[in-house]
Symmetry: C2
Subunit: 598 residues, 2 copies
């Protein structure tokens, strides 16, 4: 019953009118030839695949879930998942932005970003099977040996094999230093790995012929803690020299979790019983390779929530126009009907616009990040590579936490638009809420993201990277400060841009005296930073829309964009007022609570 | 695996130390003899029943759900539900606060309030079966004929028969004026009723021998809209003159909804095929009787969310003390363990304290409301009855919407404390979130509550009732304004008390010019009012705690209460800063969005 229309027009707007991504690509030899038409044409096809093949499996996949055969340890995915994945592989979607050296199509990452936004809108649970492969691919591409790359990357680019990341154990999630899984060196240079992993997304399934697990484990002589963790490739099936599949490796699915959502994805308990693996990177430096994957996954999780926000919005909008109930407070609007469509009610519009503003702001940020990542890999200028890496490091926890918190709000509000029907499975809205929930938790909880942002990315370099983002804001303010039509967007942004510097310095100072001050303020801080970033992109989108209108462009898309920008600055952005106040309320009221929390 | 300890100490604190409910009862002849010991003793037993009998069925009830036999139209509730209900009836819990004239025990409503908070903590889905009966009972008690009362109220007091409210139809929820179900008068004074109802909670089940449906329907000559709706009793089984059960009536369950949560409760599609009913109250005045039930239900829904907030808090607290992961930012706290319990982290404490502050503030408000309702029914002074009724009318939408929104936040945060384990069904936390979700929707969505509050309860009488609440605030400010120890609680409350008057006047003025201004501000306004009310009760609780400490009472309960009060005012109350700002941003940015919402 739900609908999904790929937001191609908005993607084109962000890519080609606001951010001019092809200008950036022209500076990179590998992408110098990429043009907007190519990108748009690929995404149009991608949208068809997402909406026509993957989307119809979303509710059925949730209802059916995954089944583990305890005897064979094999997992059966929901009906239709395997066939859709076969189409995905055959059409080459897996290889879109992969390295041509390993069979990839070499398109810019922004294409993959937009493909995955649409796949996530269509079906988050299904999309996690191919989605996790990209992180494992990136980790091996960066840290693997030539032999490892030759053995695995072609098959991962094609999607014939999928990847996982095996970090978590029952007693350790956030705190990977507590890890117990052991890797014993073998005479042939391989390792025999033994231990228990949990929460392994796409950890076992029937969609690909092999699964390439990237597993964290400890060497016998490893130092304690996170500095004694190494990374290993542990394939489900060994790979023969000629590339064919060999024996089954000693890595099994021992159970599947019963979860709140993403039922179509197999969240596996993985047992390693002397499984044979090869090391990726250096001994005890496993987190280096894992962080490549984890950073990709964090951006990917933000993208999951972007997708859910968009699809929830589209469905709530359709329902709000269709459902008639009560009259407008300002007088009947549909006099030929017994009641007005509920979209006439201000609060219904507020709920819809919240989701819309979060989706479109999130899309601009996500596309921006994909271009940064492209520059990190492919820009000829080392300084640009370094600056892009810094900026992406700053924005990654914001993408992960701000987009996923926003999606929780947005999917909940879109469900609310449906009234009682929103609580009923058949309408599909409650699934978006359940699926969105995990995104705030996995790949580092949103509290962890906030500590990463404030503690490491901001205070860790005395606000240097934040100031770089601040320079973008200042440049825009300078550029548009005298444009009266931009005042409603520029003024609040300029104010926050100034406030956040003082706010950051304050927190840095307090944090030096008492580190708990950082922990107490971090979650509020991340949302303030998120609004600075969203405010910047919303102002740029408004700037582009105003420019087009001034140039006589009558496409209503631009006037619509201005309406959403106005809503964003009037109704969502002011959240920063409370956030700065509560952050400043400090840690004492949290920490002096031994009796209250007894 | 989850735990639940009835919060008897906090209930006693609120009832006997803060609100001194027995002083109020002494002024009412029917309750003049009730003392604290009696109330406490009953609640201690109630807590055992809730935690030992009903709580263990919560997760299993969610997993198993209800089954409809399509051939017989009978519903099988989850294993154990029926047996627990039998114990409930036999122990007399149903009759606790019912009228002795109909077999009730005649205890004050506050006892029932606290019983139901505990039952809701234990198992919301189970508790809805007996819970809805109270509203139907109250409606019949107020509007039924003597014959109707004699026929139904004894069995409903005892719990042998349960009640429902049948309002919603597929095309009408909020807008009951669109209702189509028809009632044709019969020569014997009864009515033959035909139509389709949906979303009927506890609409069919195997726990009681009869179900007393209160059904809204239209007479053949009814005027259109809400002024043409009448109320009828339609029992599942007819009742013979001697009180025994007769023939099966023509009212059937045609289907059960598949829902996000409250799986243990049967949400029935009800078909009436010439079902025979008798009218309650006057023709076309059905909403009068229904509103008795609906107001009871709205307080009841707030109480459901209070219960969920409390139990989610208790479990998150236990987990946060038990789970070790990472070190405190301010240095290791449990040096003999490989990591610290996660409760050392400021943001974990913030999540826990948010739930605690919402639970305890909600408890004070809910108890206060139950005393108001008692006064409405039993106070000898007419003015007190009238004032109490006004105040309760004002507070009812706040209880419904503020407590349920808070519970959504609180259960989500408590789930977050569990990290990945929070997403797994076995831990029980995700169920609290799913169950809490319906409370924001049913019995009038929270948007409807906000319009009821701002449009009808506040602006509808030019702020007169709000000013009455303001007088309570002012009295407290006057009483404690010079007490330095109370300053941290009184000062923010005093400021908001002044701000809200100006804020309300502004909205009233804007609303006169454009009614959509009311609709645009209402949801924000309700949360501001909610914080005024919570701020008042938190200040009163702090006042009591400070008094006890000053008197030399060394029970750590009081110091704990002060810690939570400080947290509330420092971290939650400041939300009002943003809310007033966004409300003031007005309706234009919502309504001038035809293109954005195209």
């Amino acid at each position: 019953m739900p609908v999904y229309n790929p937001p191609l027009r908005d993607m084109q707007f962000v890519m080609h009118e606001v951010l001019n991504v092809c200008d950036d690509f022209r500076a990179m030899p590998v992408h110098a030839e990429v043009d907007a038409d190519t990108i748009n044409a690929v995404l149009e096809e991608a949208g068809k695949f997402a909406s026509q093949v993957v989307f119809p499996l979303n509710i059925s996949g949730d209802t059916e879930g995954c089944q583990l055969d305890q005897a064979t340890h094999e997992v059966k995915t929901p009906t239709g998942f395997k066939a859709a994945y076969k189409q995905y592989v055959e059409a080459g979607w897996a290889a879109l932005s992969c390295d041509p050296a390993f069979g990839g199509q070499g398109l810019p990452l922004v294409v993959n970003q937009c493909l995955y936004e649409m796949l996530n809108s269509a079906n988050q649970a299904w999309t996690m099977y191919p989605g996790l492969t990209h992180g494992a691919y990136a980790s091996l591409h960066t840290h693997g040996t030539d032999e490892q790359k030759a053995t695995y990357l072609h098959k991962m680019s094609s999607g014939e094999w999928t990847g996982t990341m095996c970090l978590t154990e029952p007693h350790c999630g956030t705190d990977l230093g507590l890890m117990r899984t052991k890797a014993e060196p073998q005479p042939d240079g391989t390792y025999k790995i033994t231990g228990n992993k949990i929460f392994i997304s796409a950890g076992e399934h029937d969609m690909a012929e092999n699964i390439v697990h990237l597993v964290l484990a400890r060497l016998p002589d490893a130092p304690p803690g996170i500095k004694g963790v190494s990374l290993f490739i542990v394939p489900k099936y060994h790979v023969n020299k000629d590339g064919t599949l060999g024996e089954r490796n000693g890595i099994y699915c021992a159970g599947l979790e019963h979860k709140m959502g993403i039922h179509g994805n197999a969240t596996a308990q993985i047992v390693l019983e002397g499984a044979i693996g090869t090391m990726v990177g250096q001994p005890n430096k496993g987190m280096q390779g894992m962080f490549v994957m984890m950073n990709a996954a964090r951006l990917g999780v933000g993208n999951q929530s972007l997708g859910l926000t968009e699809v929830a919005y589209q469905n709530a909008l359709a329902y709000a126009k269709d459902r008639i109930q009560m009259r407008s407070l300002s007088g009947a609007k549909s006099k030929n009907q017994p009641a007005d469509p509920i979209i006439v009610h201000p609060d219904v519009r507020k709920m819809l616009l919240t989701a819309k503003a979060y989706a479109e702001g999130g899309r601009a940020l996500a596309v921006f990040c994909s271009v940064l990542l492209e520059k990190v890999h492919h820009h000829p200028d080392e300084k640009v590579r370094k600056d892009s890496d810094d900026m992406l490091s700053l924005l990654t926890p914001i993408v992960k936490a701000f987009l996923t918190d926003n999606a929780w709000t947005a999917t909940t509000l879109c469900q609310q638009v449906f009234g009682g029907h929103g609580y009923i499975k058949e309408w599909g809205m409650e699934q978006y809420v359940r699926d969105a929930r995990i995104n705030m938790i996995y790949e580092g909880t949103n509290t962890i993201q906030s500590l990463d942002l404030l503690g490491r990315k901001v205070l860790g370099n005395n606000g240097a990277t934040l100031k770089k983002f601040g320079k973008l804001v200042t440049a825009l303010v300078m550029e548009e400060g005298v444009n009266e039509k931009m005042a409603e967007f520029i003024n609040p942004l300029a104010v926050l841009g100034e406030q956040i510097n003082k706010f950051t310095m304050e927190l840095g100072f307090k944090g030096l005296q008492n580190p708990d001050e950082v922990g107490a303020a971090a979650v509020d801080y991340l949302r303030v930073a998120g609004h600075l970033v969203f405010g910047y992109f919303w102002a740029r989108m408004a700037q582009t829309a105003l420019r087009e209108i001034a140039n006589g462009n009558t496409d209503p898309f631009y006037a619509a964009k201005l309406q959403t920008a106005r809503f964003y600055f009037a109704k969502l952005f002011p959240e920063t007022a409370t956030l700065m106040r509560t952050a400043r309320a400090g840690s004492k009221v949290l920490m002096d609570t031994e009796l209250a929390l007894a």
